[in-house]
Symmetry: C2
Subunit: 635 residues, 2 copies
Amino acid sequence: MMHHSFLLEATLIVIILIGMWFSITNFSSIKRIIIGRPMRTKELHAKHNKLFWLIALPILSADLYSSVAYGPESGMTELFSVGSSAQWFILPITIATVILLVILILSYIMGVNAYPNGGGAYAIAKDNFKRPWPALIASSSILVDYILTVAVSISAGIQAVASAYPIIAPYKTVLAILCVILLVIINLRGVAESAAIFAWPTFLFMASMMLVILTGFIDEFRHGFVQNTTPSFGTFPREVTVLLLLKAFSSACSALTGIETISNAVPIFREPQQKSAIKTYLMLGAVTAITLLGYSYHLYVKGIKVDPHNTMLSQLAGQYFGHGIVYQIIIWSTFIVLVLAANSTFTGFSQLSAIVARDGYLPRALRNRGDRLGYSNGIILLAGIASLLIEVFHAQTNALIPLYAIGVFLSFTVAQVGLCLRWGRVKGSLWKVKFGINLAGAIITALVAIIFAVTKFVDGAWIVLIILPLIIVVSISIRRHYDLVASQLRIETKKDFPQPHRILTIVFVSGVHRVVANTLSFAKSIDTDVTAIYIGFDDESIEKMRQKWEEWGSPCKLVTLRSEFRSLMGPIARYIKTLEEIEGKPDHIHVVMPQFIPKKWWHNLLHNQSALLIRAWLLFNKDVIITTVPYHLRK
Amino acid sequence: MMHHSFLLEATLIVIILIGMWFSITNFSSIKRIIIGRPMRTKELHAKHNKLFWLIALPILSADLYSSVAYGPESGMTELFSVGSSAQWFILPITIATVILLVILILSYIMGVNAYPNGGGAYAIAKDNFKRPWPALIASSSILVDYILTVAVSISAGIQAVASAYPIIAPYKTVLAILCVILLVIINLRGVAESAAIFAWPTFLFMASMMLVILTGFIDEFRHGFVQNTTPSFGTFPREVTVLLLLKAFSSACSALTGIETISNAVPIFREPQQKSAIKTYLMLGAVTAITLLGYSYHLYVKGIKVDPHNTMLSQLAGQYFGHGIVYQIIIWSTFIVLVLAANSTFTGFSQLSAIVARDGYLPRALRNRGDRLGYSNGIILLAGIASLLIEVFHAQTNALIPLYAIGVFLSFTVAQVGLCLRWGRVKGSLWKVKFGINLAGAIITALVAIIFAVTKFVDGAWIVLIILPLIIVVSISIRRHYDLVASQLRIETKKDFPQPHRILTIVFVSGVHRVVANTLSFAKSIDTDVTAIYIGFDDESIEKMRQKWEEWGSPCKLVTLRSEFRSLMGPIARYIKTLEEIEGKPDHIHVVMPQFIPKKWWHNLLHNQSALLIRAWLLFNKDVIITTVPYHLRK
C-alpha cells in the first residue's frame, strides 16, 4: 500500500513540476485550457469591487476562524500525552488563548489605524526600522508560516473528511497533494479572492460550530453538568508539569493563526474603510472567542479522547447528532473552510514574496505576473514546498503543528515593536496609550514565540529556527548581489557609448554540405576575412576534408585541427587561446556555428547535438561571441 | 521496507542518469576519478593480445556456461507448477536441450568457417539477404536479448548470494542495480575484456560444477541409486500436458544463451585462428553438455524443490557439502561468473549497436567512442534499460526468463538461413552437406523460437513480440530519415557556393546599461544599420526608456513594442513577421542578444533567463540568425 501510494505521490509532485514548467514556457494549447486566456495588464485594476463589512467578515475570516478546527484539538492532544488526567487544563489554556486573541486584535486595530492601505508586518517594519533585518525577520517568518498554513489547513481538512469516510485514510497524503494542485490551478486562473460566494461556506461553518456549542449546552442541561470520565476540574495530578502545560498552550495557540488577514485587506472594504475593518475585527474576535471557549468546554465535558482516525470535532458532532445529515454538513463545511483558508494564503504568499522581491531580497522571478495577472512563480513555489511538507509529514496535522505559529508570533512581535517606534516618532493624540498597548503586545507575543520555540523545539520547531536565519542571510546576500550587478552595469554616458570593434570571424564546419554553405554565406556577409575550422579525429578524415574543400573551390581559408581524444572542446579551447594570445589580437572573437533544425523535434535524437554542446560550453567558459545560423530541414 | 527500498532504487536510477550526463559533458574532475584519463584513438589497436585457445575458452565461455546456473532450475520450476509428480521429465527435457546445443554448435562452427573475422548474425544476414529487414530482425533480437542477459544474469547472481545470506533478500533489487552501475563504470573505464585474469573465475565455476556432479555420483554410489521423494521415472501423471513440457523445455533452453560469443571473437585467438575457435567450441560444448546432464540428473535424484529464497544449486551444494567453505566457493564463483557474463554482454551490446548505427539504422550517437574508447552511449543505454527491467521485475530471474531466449533463437534462425543462402551462392567443397546442416539448424531453431513464443506468450513473451517489430519499424524509419537528410544536404558544387547575403540586424535591449553598450558595440562592428528593440509592459516604462535613450545619445534607431500580456515572444514574433513581409526584405534577419554571465552559476537563479528563453524559442520557431554577445560579470 505504501509503495503504491508513494508512486502516486511522486506522480503528483511531477505534475507540480510540470506546472512550474507551464509558467515559464509558452506551451499554449494545454495551458489555455487549464489556466484560461491571458489577461492584459490594465485589467488588473478592474478586479476589485468594494465589500460591505458583513460580507467581508466571513471572506477575510476563513483564515483565522478555520484554525479552531485544529487549535483546541492540538492542545488537547498534548495534554493527553500524560493520559486523561490532565484533560481539564484545556479550560484555563483556552482562556489564556482567548486573552492573547484579545491583545492581538487590539494591536491589529492599532495597525489598521496607522496603515489604512494595508500594512503587513513587513511594511510596518520597513517603515519604522532603519536596518533591513527586522523587516526581513517579519517577511521570512510570515512566508514560512504561509507555507505551513497551506500544509496544516489542507491536512486538517483531509483529516476531517477521513474521519467521516475512513476508507480514504490510506490516501490522505495523495488527496492532500491533489488539493494543493487544485488550489494551484485555481490561483493560476486567478479567481477574484474577494468574490461574495466565498462568504457562504465560512458562514455555514460558523453556524455549524455555534450549533455544536448550543446543542452541547442543551445536552448538558438535560443530563446535568456532570463530567463523568476524567478527573474533575481543579485536581493537580503529579505527572502534569509546567512544560506540558506550556506545550499544550503553544499548540492551542495555532488557533490564532490567520489573524493578520483583515489588516492586509483594508482597501477591499466599502467606505469608511478603517471603521469597517475595525468593526470586522471586533466581531470576528467575539465569534472566535465564543467558539474556542464553548468548543473546548464541550471537548472536556464529553471526555473526548485522541483518535488519529477521528478528529475531535467529528467525535463531538457524532455524539450530538449521530452520523446523519447534520454531521455531514459539519464535516464538509470544515473541509471547505480549511481549503478556503489555504486558498487565501496563496494570494498572501505570492503578493508578499513579490513585494519583498521588488525590494531586491528575493529572486526577481517572483515579481513576474503570469498570464492571469497572479504571481505564478510565487504560487508554484508555495505549492511545491507545501506539498513536500505534506509528503514528508504524511499529512498529519499534529506532526506539522510544532513547526507552526512561531513565524506568526515572531512577525507579530516585529510589527508591534515597529508600531511602538512609530508612536514614539509620530506622537499624535493618545500616543502614550497606543505605545503602551503595542509595547504590551510586543512583550506578550515575544514571550509566546519564545515559549513556542523552547517547548516545541525537539518536536520540530528547530527546523524553523534553522531555516529562518538561513532565509534572512540568503535574502541579504541576494540584495547584495543585485546591488553589485547594478553597480557593474551602470553606464558612464560618454565612456560607455557603443564603439565598433575589430572582430575575428571563425566558422566551425563538419564537412562540405548545404548547412556549411548556408553558414559561410552568412559569415561572408558580415566579414570579409572568415576562417573555417574543421576538427578531425584522424589524419585520414582530415586529408579527405582538405581535398573536398579544394574541389568545392575553397570559399575561405580552412584550418584543420586534430583531436586525438575525440573531444571537440579541447582543440577548440586551445585554438581560441592561441587567437587570444597573438599580437594585434582582435577585440572580439566571433564564432559562427550552424544549427541543424529537423522537421520534427524528436528527430533531434538522431543527430549528435555537438553544436549545442559547443555553444553552451563556449558561452560559460570563453569570452567569445556566438552566432547560430539555423538550417531548417524541409523534409 | 518496500517504501524505503523504492527510495533507494530511485536514487540508484538517478545515479545512472547522472552517468549519462557524464558521458555528454566535460565535467572533468569527477569524471577522471571514475573513468580514468582519456585515451587516444590510436591506442585502440594496441589493446588486443592474441590468446591461446585454452585461456580463451573460459573467457569466452562465461556467457554460455553461466547460463547453467539458471537454465535447468527454470525448467524445473515450470514442471513444479503441477507439483512434484512431473519432476522426472527434467531428464528428457535436458537431453533435448543438449541435442539442440549440439546442433547449434555445429551451425556456429560453419559460421566461423565462413566468416573468420567474426560474423555475428547481423553480419551474416547483411551479407546474404538483399533486403535489410532480416539483418534488422537479427540485430534487434540480439540487442533485446543482450539487455535481458544483463537483467537475468545479475538477478540470478544476486539470487545465488541471497540464498547463502538470506539477510540481503529484501534488498535484491537495489543490489542488482548496484551491480549494473558497477559494470557501467568498469565498461566506461574500458577494461580489456580479453584479459587473462577473467579466465580464472570461470575455471573455478566449471570446477565447482564438476565437483558437485562428481560428489553427487559418489553420494549415490554410497546410498544406492534410489529416488525417494518423487514419482519414479517413466510414470505419466494426468496433469502433465504437452504444453507444460514445451514450456519447461523453453525455460530450460535459456541455458543455451551466450553460445554466439566465440563466433564473434575469432580474431582474438592465436593462429591458427579458425582451428582454435572450432576446438574451443567443441570443448565448451562437451563441458556444457556434461554439466547440464549431470546437474539436472542430481536435481531430480535429490528431489530438489522450488524455493524462491534458495536456488536449486545452493540447495544441492548444501546437501552435499553443508554450508562450509566449499559451499561458499560454489556460491561466490556462481555470482562472479554471472557478473562476468553480464560484463561481456556490455561489450557485445555496445559494439553491435555501433555497427548497426554505422549502417544508419540506429541513432548516430551510438557510434561515438567515449574517453576510454568504449561506446559509452551504448553502455549507458544498456544499463538504463536493464536496470528498469530489474526494477520492474523485482530482480526475479524466473519472472524475466519468459522474455528471454526468443531473441537468441530468432537471430539463430536468421543466421542459419543466411548461411544456407551463402552455400547456395558460393558453393565450394561439400556445400550440400553444409547447406543441409544449416537448413536443419534453421528449421529446428525456428521451431524452438515458435515454441518459446507460443508457450511463454502470456507469461511475458508478448512484450518481446510487440517490441521487436517496433524496433525494426523504427530502425527502418531512422535510416529513411538519415537518407532524406543526406539528400537535402548534398551540394551541387557551383549552385551552392557561399554568396554574401543582405542581412538586417536587430538588437534586443532591456534598458541603458553596460550589457547593452557591449552588445551594440558588436552589432555596429558588423553592420552599419542596426535597430534596437525594446519591449515594455506599459506606456510609462516605454516613455522612460525613450528618454534614457535620448539622453544616452541615441546610438541607433530605437523601436519600442508594447506587450499588454507581459509576454516577450508575442511582440517579437509579430515584429519579425512584419520584417519578413516588407518589400525588398533582407535574405536573413540577424537577432543580436546580450547574455549576462554571472560569476557563480547559481547566481543565474537570481536573474530572469528571458534571453535564454527567447533564443530557444526563436531557434526552433523562426528562421532567424541568432547571436549571443556574452557579458561576463567580474564580481
